[in-house]
Symmetry: C2
Subunit: 202 residues, 2 copies
């Protein structure tokens, strides 16, 4: 495949719609011959940079979101349980994901992310804690000590900041944000449009 397309998924483990999109993105890519780049970023920093706010800030929207999330989970056939710790400060979690790429290559991010997503959005764990970060790292064959040690390194802090800045510079204001080249898509609910874009002739 000389022109194999890439779909970039900018995500934050603390975002429920990022979780939903994360459960589907590899299938969307596989079905269209594309590959996924998993791009951990910090949603709180995106909100701050763009003046956007958490959707759950509006009480009526927060109430509706519980139904909406359950409907999408049912449609996808994936488990979902509203996290009791929400919103969660995912700074260390997103740094750990960033560290995984440095330690084992970018392909290490996807499985690690899916494990952390499941920990937070299915098993109701505190995935910002070193304990859960270690457990998730171990489960996907990463060195837990190396991941946790890297979280506080300037290199990893800078790398996460750079990814977040890049997303904002390219137009992101929420999560998940999905790119196919320059075409930007916001939200789990845009996966059909992402698929259209991936199927488009080169």
């Amino acid at each position: 495949m000389p022109n194999r397309k890439t779909v970039e998924l900018f995500f934050d483990i603390g975002s429920p719609y990022s979780y939903l999109a994360a459960t589907q993105i590899e299938a969307v890519a596989a079905g269209t011959g594309a590959r996924v780049r998993w791009r951990p970023f910090l949603l709180g920093a995106v909100f701050k940079a763009t003046g956007n706010e958490m959707p759950a800030r509006v009480a009526a929207k927060a109430r509706w979101m519980l139904d909406d999330l359950a409907r999408w989970a049912a449609r996808y056939g994936v488990p979902f349980k509203m996290a009791s710790r929400f919103p969660l400060n995912t700074l260390r979690t997103e740094r750990a994901l960033t560290a995984a790429a440095r330690l084992n290559g970018e392909e290490a991010i996807g499985p690690f992310a899916l494990t952390l997503f499941r920990g937070y959005w299915v098993e109701d764990k505190d995935v910002s804690s070193d304990e859960e970060i270690r457990a998730a790292a171990k489960a996907v064959g990463l060195d837990p000590d190396a991941v946790v040690a890297a979280i506080d390194s300037p290199e990893i802090k800078d790398a996460l900041r750079a990814t977040t800045d890049e997303a904002v510079r390219r137009g992101a204001f929420g999560a998940p944000t999905i790119f196919v080249g320059d075409a930007m898509f916001w939200g789990n609910d845009r996966l059909d449009l992402v698929e259209d874009e991936l199927r488009r002739g080169d």
Copy 2:
């Protein structure tokens, strides 16, 4: 059909995603044996009541929405042109729609709404003006004088307020808002979920 389901579409002519949903809702209903209730409401009042804000308030989101709207229009095969007068104060427009139901029955709303939507989101007209309201009324067989005269009547003012209050009481915070019984769906992008709900066994 003893248990014919009803899908209620709460919409504001000033909302581009309401326009997109309006172009599809009759087909969604027809495909599932349901009927549509067209419910004009005032989105500005919903925002005020719920503390929600226009999505376009965030500059990055406003930029993305232009692409997003064009993509949905292409997917549906319907024309779309960003309105040069946006946002529009649609108070008189939504009252005119409310008046149509009083004058010619609730079935008069759908065709009138689609004509006004097209005026605003395709032909870039000022559909808050009496002139355009008259023209749209005439095009769908409503009495233009009666419609415009009704706009300022206390009965119509109260009726629009009641519909808006009802939507907020039932959980709405934006537009379009779609109900199938008590199940609420926000957004054009939830039409697939609405269809699932309509197909569900009674």
